[in-house]
């Protein structure tokens, strides 16, 4: 399926959201992306609010990428992976920085995927790739809608493969998703994208 996807080097960023059942896929993806993968990646994964440490470390074990929890207003750098910190929403700001905030919970979550996706869509427009993985609620669906509205590329994890498919399904129900891919295919997609940038 990935062979058929036509890709260009117009993209500037990737956002990935996930909740229950997304940790293993996330580790797989992060361990497969080469260090030189040029785009910044913004991760918003639902997490316990009082556990401030350990998540970055767990995601980093098998990855060659720099994975960080940004400080508020930290500058966005090429190739860095930004993980939304515990108990903060993470947004992309115009002017190439990340901002954090403590606004209301959305879909019972903080960080909420909708906020990260929506703000990234606003900044990167059609140059954004949004990927939504397994999860048990509907967070991320509106975010995917915004990405689509700005003509970015939308990908959900294969509904059958998702450990808990409520989240990708919720997105599928309100957006015409571009691709529904298995984790292996998402990885193949990102590797193909990387190749285009390395040419």
């Amino acid at each position: 399926m990935v062979k058929e996807i036509h890709l260009t080097n117009k993209y500037k960023a990737v956002v990935i959201g996930g909740s229950a059942g997304s940790f293993q896929p996330m580790v797989q993806i992060l361990s497969s992306i080469p260090r030189e993968f040029p785009l910044p990646i913004f991760l918003c994964l639902h997490r316990l609010k009082h556990v401030r440490h350990g998540f970055v470390e767990a995601l980093s074990i098998k990855s060659q990428k720099d994975i960080i929890e940004p400080m508020d207003k930290e500058s966005i750098k090429k190739g860095v992976v930004y993980l939304a910190p515990a108990n903060y929403h993470m947004a992309v700001e115009l002017g190439n920085s990340v901002s954090l905030n403590t606004e209301e919970l959305i879909n019972n979550s903080r960080p909420a995927i909708d906020i990260t996706f929506e703000s990234a869509a606003y900044v990167y427009r059609d140059k954004l790739i949004g990927i939504l993985l397994s999860g048990a609620n509907k967070d991320g669906a509106v975010g995917m809608q915004k990405i689509k509205y700005r003509k970015g590329l939308t990908i959900i994890q294969d509904i059958e493969e998702s450990m808990i498919n409520a989240m990708p399904l919720a997105a599928k129900n309100i957006v015409e998703i571009d691709y529904e891919l298995k984790v292996d295919e998402i990885i193949a997609f990102l590797l193909k994208l990387n190749k285009i940038y390395q040419q």
């Binding site: 207003k73 108990n87 403590t102 606004e103 929506e118 703000s119």
Partner: protein, 278 residues
Amino acid sequence: MSYTMGEIEITELRKLTTFIQEKFDYNFKDYAMSSFRRRIKRMLDLYKLQTVDELIHILNTKEGFFEEFVSELTVNVTEMFRDPTFWRVLREHIIPNIMLNHNKISIWHAGCSSGEEIVSMSIVLDEMGILDKAKIVATDIDRSIIAKAKEARYPLKHMEVNRKNYLRYQGKYSLEKYYTEVGSEAVINKALLENVSYRKHDLVQGSVFSKFDLVLCRNVMIYFNQTLQNQVLHRLHESLFKYGYLVIGSKESLIWCDIAHKFIVVNNEEKIYKKIKD
């Protein structure tokens, strides 16, 4: 779902902030735009408005609406003992350090919101046996939220989070000691807040009004851009006695501010700084 696509463009936000600056002399142009935009969107939905122009029209014509606007704009989500580990460091290191050389302590909650942080502070001081030695000032830009902070009544359903935080803080008693249940609310015991004075104050345009041993400004400056953060830090710096402490949110940083060198990091994890230069 069509309203979700009623996206607000940056030019409209600029028009709004310029209008507010001219008419009400409040500066919102250096607020962090992603959040500001979302707050404005939320307000359009709330008042069932289609465009930012309609909002400007109401601001321009409806008497008293601006205060309501400020109130809706400000983010007022907080918890008692947010980041319990911070409160432990405060109890075990920071406050004892201040009390080494003083027999009283002055504290400013800059951006106090609905007052949960003030309650937490008062409980910490009470359990340390020094509440009567404290002078606490609480300020916020939003007049109606100050009124709420003063009332100190919180929905019982919020108290579960607060109790959990208090447990993680490892307080002496249980949080229930400090409030009475009245209907669906937890009413904080008045005696606890006797030494607190409340006032409306805008961190962005307000003046420096006093000096303190300890200033808490946690998760307030995250709503500003870097220019404004820098400007506000100058005010906070001026509002501290030399060797006084400044606390910001756990994911905030001072490193890009031009007067960062006038502070030293006391605790990087909890973002506690000490002013070392005037």
